[in-house]
């Protein structure tokens, strides 16, 4: 029976090309019109530690969450088998290398001791030996999965002979064994993989052909019983083309389309890929005609990054930076200067596990309150978050517009999940957005009152416009000169702070919080950012089981849509409002309480660094609804 949705994992050591294999598979599936979403889990390491890509593939929609167990687990090495054998579904396929069957758990030196102890206990519980063969037996007998052992070395040797290359060269195509095996299990035509390879390798025929030799040999080695076991029904997604990209890439695209022409950054995981993407597209032409250039400035630290971006913004350029928690910590003083001087600035903040270095390559939503309060003193700011890569695209442009319209710094709060997820979406249409530059003045002359008190939002002549303007981090008068006068202080303070009200009036609440649900919902999940997809999918699954819930997606935390959110919350019984977040404190719930006075008392939280999975959210919500618990802490995932 063909499936509407398939889940799979491809695992292998970091640096061995699993990511490339995943991107070829993604492209192949996209070519066939399937929606794909994949999460990349990896250590802070370049070579050798365990990494894996976890996919949801759908024939009916663009997937928005991940779940377990998987219908297919493809392992490049012993560590992948040990780490994930227990995650294969009944009837699902575990592809592994028969050459590794004798490998013992203790020999996997790259495995952290805590993981090893857990795996050891797991194997023991299944009553099998701590070897790859043991894990395979556990999958087969304990989980009723279908192990497919391939002789990786044999496949490669055969490919080597066919290609007439050295054994070193053929090793480059080793990952295509997984690709071929996956294709066989998914029941894909080899041509689909050829197309995927063509996308990934930009039509480089030699590389494509060589990989295809390995792919086809691997496909042929998969036994009949396993072929097509995870076959998807033909796609019913009505799309002619799709964008398949990571969150980092999509933010980069949106910044370019939205007019960012200056981006400063200091390398940090998981933010720098965005800046590197922009750098690769810094010369812009339309219809063969040059239309502009972007400066991507790699600075000596994040302090320089934010402050140089502020400098660029003063010249009337849309300027931005991208960072993660440790970098943002360094940027805070600059943020205050931008707020005080009413500088439009976009800070894309990808949260990762904190505090300190925390878990650099793992996700978390621990910086919400930090984003709201970072800096000494008071000033208006916008904090906007996005729930999926489509939202990310449009929100980035919205954030740029709001920054200029309201002359405030905007923090676009994303996370590692969003940064590294590779997902497909409709190609966003720039004609659906407008560039709003507010009161920017590009032609002027002579000294200007940059902080003219006649309006809360003053005309903003760019440095270089012909005007002469002054800025200072001290309290200033209308000319931007230092003033310690108490009456001026109040007027200038009020001018700035009044923008909070103006933003609250001008930004529709429905753009700041989105309610997904209908009249019959009798419980409410409240979440933000990457929680959106899994919350909506969990609700669908819960609905099928007779639980009718809704989801309140909080998007803008400053200015917070207090009345709108209050009205929604008040429709539900307090014991049936559940906050879902990737942190310990329930920071969004704290923000809700601060802004509305409403105290959320039920929580589903996860702070392992791994995303919330659909099945664990479904279970946790049920436990809360059944009164068995008020606070569920999720821990699934390796």
């Amino acid at each position: 029976m063909a499936l509407k949705e398939v889940h799979l994992i491809l695992g292998g050591p970091q640096g061995a090309g699993v990511e490339t294999t995943a991107s070829v598979l993604t492209a192949s599936l996209a070519k066939l019109g399937y929606g794909v979403m994949s999460d990349r889990e990896y250590y802070s390491n370049i070579v050798g530690r365990h990494s894996y890509v976890h996919f949801t593939v759908s024939a009916t929609s663009f997937p928005r969450s991940l779940t377990y167990p998987v219908e297919l687990m493809g392992a490049m090495d012993a560590e992948s088998v040990f780490t994930h054998f227990h995650e294969v579904a009944e009837g699902g396929v575990l592809v592994y290398d028969t050459g590794l069957e004798a490998s013992r758990l203790i020999q996997v030196v790259s495995m952290e001791p805590e993981v090893r102890a857990r795996v050891e206990a797991r194997l023991k519980a299944y009553g099998v030996e701590p070897t790859v063969a043991g894990a395979v037996r556990a999958a087969k007998e304990g989980l009723k999965a279908l192990p497919v052992g391939l002789d990786y070395k044999g496949v490669l040797e055969e490919a080597r002979q066919k290609l007439g290359v050295t054994s070193v060269e053929v090793h480059r195509y080793r990952n295509s064994i997984l690709l071929g095996a996956a294709a066989a299990v998914l029941g894909l035509d080899p041509d689909a993989l050829r197309e995927g390879l063509a996308v990934r390798f930009r039509g480089n025929k030699k590389v494509i052909d060589a990989n295809m030799v390995v792919v086809e040999l691997a496909m042929d080695s998969v036994p009949q019983a396993a072929r097509g076991t995870a076959r998807l029904e033909p796609s019913s997604l009505d799309v002619e083309e799709m964008l398949s990209a990571s969150g980092n890439d999509v933010v980069g695209m949106a910044k370019i389309v939205g007019g960012v022409r200056y981006q400063a950054y200091y390398p940090i995981t998981p933010a720098s890929d965005e800046s590197v993407f922009i750098e690769a597209h810094q010369s812009i032409s339309v219809d063969g005609k040059p239309v502009g250039s972007i400066v991507v400035f790699q600075t000596e630290d994040e302090i320089a990054a934010i402050n140089s971006a502020i400098g660029a913004a003063l010249t009337g350029v849309r300027a931005a930076t991208a960072t993660s928690g440790p970098g943002f910590s360094l940027m805070v003083e600059g943020l205050g200067w931008a707020g005080h001087n009413e500088v439009p600035l976009l800070i894309t903040l990808y949260q990762r596990g904190g505090p300190s270095t925390g878990q650099p390559t793992r996700g978390e939503q621990g910086d919400l309150l930090f984003s709201l309060f970072a800096s000494h003193g008071e000033f208006p700011r916008i904090v906007i978050t996005s729930g999926d890569i489509e939202e990310v695209f449009y929100d980035t442009i919205k954030a740029l517009n709001w920054a200029e319209r309201f002359q405030v710094p905007v923090i676009h709060l994303l996370d590692k999940y969003m940064a590294n997820v590779i997902a497909s979406m409709r190609v966003p249409d720039p004609s659906a957005v407008k560039v709003e530059r507010g009161k920017l003045v590009l032609k002027a002359s002579g000294p200007a009152k940059r902080f003219d008190l006649s309006e809360a939002i003053s005309p903003r002549p760019a440095i270089g416009s012909g005007a002469i303007t002054w800025y200072t981090g001290d309290e200033h008068n209308e000319w931007g000169h230092i003033s310690e006068d108490p009456i001026n202080r109040v007027r200038m303070y009020d001018k700035r702070m009044r923008k909070l009200e103006i933003m609250d009036q001008e930004i529709p609440p429905e753009e700041r919080a989105v309610y997904y649900g209908d009249g019959d919902a009798d419980f409410l999940l409240v979440g933000w950012g990457f929680v959106k997809g899994v919350a909506l999918d969990a609700l669908e699954e819960l609905r099928a089981q007779g639980y009718h819930g809704a989801y309140l997606h909080l998007k803008v935390f400053s200015p917070f849509p207090s009345r709108y959110v209050s009205a929604i919350l008040s429709k539900f019984s307090p014991s049936r409002v559940i906050d879902v977040e990737h942190n310990y404190l329930g920071q969004a719930a704290m923000a809700v309480r601060m802004y509305t006075g409403y105290e959320i008392s039920r929580f589903v939280l996860k702070y392992t660094g791994r995303p919330i999975y659909r099945m664990e959210l479904v279970d946790a919500v049920k436990r809360i609804l059944e009164g068995k618990s008020t606070r569920e802490v999720l821990t699934y995932g390796e």
Partner: protein
């Protein structure tokens, strides 16, 4: 030549009487007037401390920013709009203490920014603590104990960092300073002028008398030639070495003047232009980002083409198959 008055604001200059900053301010105004640079084309960037107020006294664009961060502000402004003349006025504590990382980074980038160090060996506005240019063991009158940390030499740090114009001046010799400033502004690349400056309120060691007895002009030595005059790297290396050597001199005699100038090093803008095809003709500040109807200049077609590696066309066969199901 424009009038000096055109570069003055009506903000009262609130430095202590006889502060060396007055000389720097006057030299700035004279240099800009003599070079006839329109005030609206100039940006003065200043940090925190007494020197930070310079921006408010100059009738040019002023960005009085955070402690130590003037150079990043200046870099953002200059990179976004290369037409502007960008000058940093910062204290020794600001540029060589809290902002040292940026000071070094600007040198290695050789971006066309002029840095004036107000070097008075003390943190003036916080009442006279030792700055990074005060020597170990010295104790100015505001300090309870002698300095426990030694100095950094602004000239050698600048030379080592890659600045292509390195000079020292004395705040009270305004004409000398003005001439050096003019040369620095005309120089295409990162320039540093370390301006020795008496602080009459806190610094009772480095007084005008102290300097008067010791300062001498480098160019009083007829053989002193700090200018690299050919692209030959050997000449640059030799002149750099001599500058280093001369920069060690600090005792009975203290040299002021130009230590090193090398116009043959590519500026950061040159390097950006090499990889960013449209930067020179269309730097960020000259970009039009939206059409008249407000939509982005990058439309769907342009987006597809720019990001073609990420746009996947669904195979026709498959679409047909899906429709027929």
């Amino acid at each position: 030549m424009a009038s000096e008055a055109a570069y003055r604001t009506n903000v009262w200059v609130d430095w202590c009487p006889a502060c060396g900053n007055f000389g720097i301010l006057a030299a700035m105004q004279k240099a800009l007037a003599e070079l006839n640079i329109p005030p609206e084309k100039v940006v003065d960037i200043s940090g925190i401390g007494c020197s930070g107020k310079t921006s408010h006294f100059l009738n040019v664009n002023g960005v009085h920013n955070l402690h130590g961060r003037s150079i990043p502000y200046a870099e953002g402004i200059k990179l976004a709009n290369p037409d502007l003349t960008v000058i940093v006025n910062g204290g020794d504590g600001d540029l060589l203490g809290i902002g040292m990382a940026h000071f070094v980074a600007l040198g290695r980038r050789n971006l066309d920014i002029k840095v004036i160090i107000h070097d008075n060996q003390v943190y003036g506005l916080t009442k006279g603590q030792a700055s990074p240019t005060l020597r170990v063991g010295q104790k100015v009158k505001s300090m309870p104990l002698p300095n426990m940390q030694d100095w950094v030499n602004p000239i050698t740090v600048a030379l080592a960092s890659g600045y292509t114009f390195v000079a020292r001046a004395y705040a009270l010799w305004v004409d000398d300073l003005k001439e050096i400033l003019k040369m620095a502004i005309r120089h295409r690349g990162a320039a540093v002028i370390d301006v020795l400056q008496p602080c009459p309120t806190w610094n009772n060691i480095y007084t005008p008398d102290f300097y008067k007895q010791r300062l001498y002009r480098l160019d009083s030595d007829k053989g002193w030639d700090p200018f690299v005059r050919s692209p030959d790297p050997k000449e640059a290396a030799e002149k750099l070495s001599r500058a280093f050597e001369r920069a060690q001199e600090w005792g009975d005699r203290i040299p002021i003047g130009i230590f090193y100038v090398n116009p043959y090093v590519e500026s950061f803008a040159d390097n950006v232009s090499k990889v960013n095809t449209f930067y020179e003709s269309m730097p960020p500040a000259k970009n039009v980002i939206a059409r008249e109807d407000g939509t982005p200049v990058i439309d769907l077609q342009a987006m597809r083409s720019m990001f073609r590696d990420y746009v996947i066309e669904v195979s026709r066969n498959n679409r047909r198959q899906a429709q027929s199901q």
